[in-house]
């Protein structure tokens, strides 16, 4: 029998496809099913009971608050950084790109720890803040800082290659046609990057709501006050409150699913109308 490379291909392909599917089921689908079945083991009543607890509500509120602050901040800063890096050549540009990506390469725990070292009771600025009665660590500002730091690269990283590829010609054309800087930004720059920007914001938001490591370090785990949803999941789990833990986890998973759907829709949109992103 002739077993040339071309004849082997279908078998190899089938094997690889099967392997991928198995991995997909074991690593992604199974956990999701476990989360949902565990949450629903006492029926919908158990889920609703968990969600009506003040602690759970506080965690959801806090997570939304932290995201509502850090995502807009990172959107604006990421846009500014991407514009700066994508449009101009200047000394130190490479260093700036490295700094933008720093949060990706640093462990989230370190990302939280730096704020403790800076603002904590024994940190550099701790005594001063204590005198002024400003609380950052083990309080909401610390959570916002840690989350913002960890999620900073998403918007900038999505936009930099896009803006570099698009070039500045359209913006220059707008300027020669009499547009001001703001008009150029709103009418030319922003429409050209809108899908990329939305994509970056979406990823940023998903991470902001799901972040655990950095937040765990600065939170202090004060129940009902500094517990975000991921932290609440861990706390409930440690309390052997399976339904509670998996209900919160299910909510986060649901968020991930929504993100995934919107992301897929965006990618489809970007692919179909190349004018938007490319």
């Amino acid at each position: 029998m002739n077993t040339s490379a071309t004849e082997e291909a279908p078998a190899t392909r089938a094997l690889l496809t099967a392997l991928t599917l198995v991995l997909l089921v074991v690593l992604l689908l199974l956990p999701l099913i476990v989360v949902l079945t565990e949450a629903l083991q006492h029926g919908l009543a158990g889920v609703l009971a968990t969600l009506s607890e003040p602690e759970a509500l506080a965690a959801i509120r806090l997570t939304l608050l932290v995201a509502a602050i850090s995502v807009p901040v990172n959107t604006v800063c990421g846009l500014a950084a991407a514009w700066c890096v994508g449009r101009f050549r200047f000394p130190g540009r490479g260093l700036l790109v490295t700094l933008i990506e720093l949060p990706f390469s640093v462990s989230p725990v370190i990302s939280g720890l730096v704020w403790v070292l800076l603002f904590g009771a024994n940190g550099w600025l701790g005594p001063t803040l204590d005198r002024l009665d400003i609380r950052i660590i083990f309080a909401v500002p610390g959570l916002v800082l840690a989350t913002t730091f960890v999620t900073f690269p998403f918007v900038a990283r999505t936009l930099i290659p896009l803006m570099e590829q698009q070039g500045a010609a359209e913006e220059e054309a707008a300027l020669t046609l009499g547009a001001t800087g703001w008009q150029t930004f709103w009418r030319v720059t922003l429409p050209n990057i809108r899908w990329g920007l939305l994509y970056g914001v979406l990823l940023c938001n998903a991470r902001a709501m799901g972040e655990f490591g950095a937040v765990a370090v600065v939170s202090g785990h004060v129940r009902g006050q500094t517990m975000t949803m991921p932290l609440q999941v861990e706390a409930l789990f440690n309390d052997y409150d399976w339904v509670g833990a998996f209900t919160m986890a299910g909510l986060l998973a649901l968020l991930a699913l929504v993100t995934l759907v919107v992301k897929a829709a965006l990618e489809w949109r970007i692919g179909v109308r190349g004018g938007g992103l490319l």
Partner: protein
Amino acid sequence: MTVELRNLHRSFGGVAALDGVSLTIGQGEFLALLGPSGSGKTTLLRVLAGLEFLDAGEVTIDGRRMDGVPARERGVGLVFQHYALFRHMTVARNVAFGLEVLPRSRRPARRDVASRVRSLLEMMQIGELGDRYPEQISGGQRQRVALARALAIEPRLLLLDEPFGALDARVRKSLRIWLRELHERMGLTSVFVTHDQAEAMEMADRVAVLRAGQIEQVDEPDRLYAEPASAFVHEFLGEAVRFEAVVEGGTARIATLPGVALDTDCPAGPAIVLIRPHEIRLRPGPGPAQAVGMHANGPLWRVRLALPGQVLEVLRTEGAWRPEVGQTCDLDLSRARVYPANSMW
């Protein structure tokens, strides 16, 4: 509308893009900036548009100094090399852009904008494309849209960066004539950048030849061709046969043609002798050249001649005498021009 450029300097990372450019552009003139890539012609155009800054020198438009005047206040229309159309806007919105960003006090009513756009598109002969997006139209149509967009602001000065660079040869030819007519009809003052000497010679009233950030010569096309000021201009503006020579006591002698002596004002030392292929006359004779090949090129014949140490091509009209392949002949280089050798790179 006159533009005055005085001693412009601009360098990027130590490399001079403009190295002392001075030039006056008159009302209604159609001026070409011609030069190889890297000669500074696009930089010069961007300086005029206000998109590039100067290290030294000054630009005045109608007597007003332009330093510190931002691009949007210059009233200069620029057609970009790749058109830079707003990809997320329809053709009509592209053309309307310059009117829509005007301050409210000077902005025409919506209806007037629409009719202005329509008449501009019709003038560009693309009246039916208003609702299309840039990615849905051809290169030649995009160029017309870019032109309409630049003209919508009624610019005092129209700048075009390689306006035909991205088009194929046939479209290019017809657009050249059309653009030249448009310039006349609208009474524009235009400056366009090109690296194609045929384009510059055909369209422009005057051509400024740039090289390494400096203007080598500014002249009308025919004078530029007939009386190039330097070996660079001579070679850039058309085919030329080149000989190495030495000048001594007002006479240039060519190394590969010991019999030839040309009178010249060039200082003594190494020199370059340039002559266009059709300017070389051939006579029957025992040498020094020998025909090694030939082919018809339209109504002209290209004759390849071998000299000791050099092969050159000569153009002959159909009726003129030409040697058979293998036959020897004598060259008359009396129309050659001699340039000091240091004027080349």
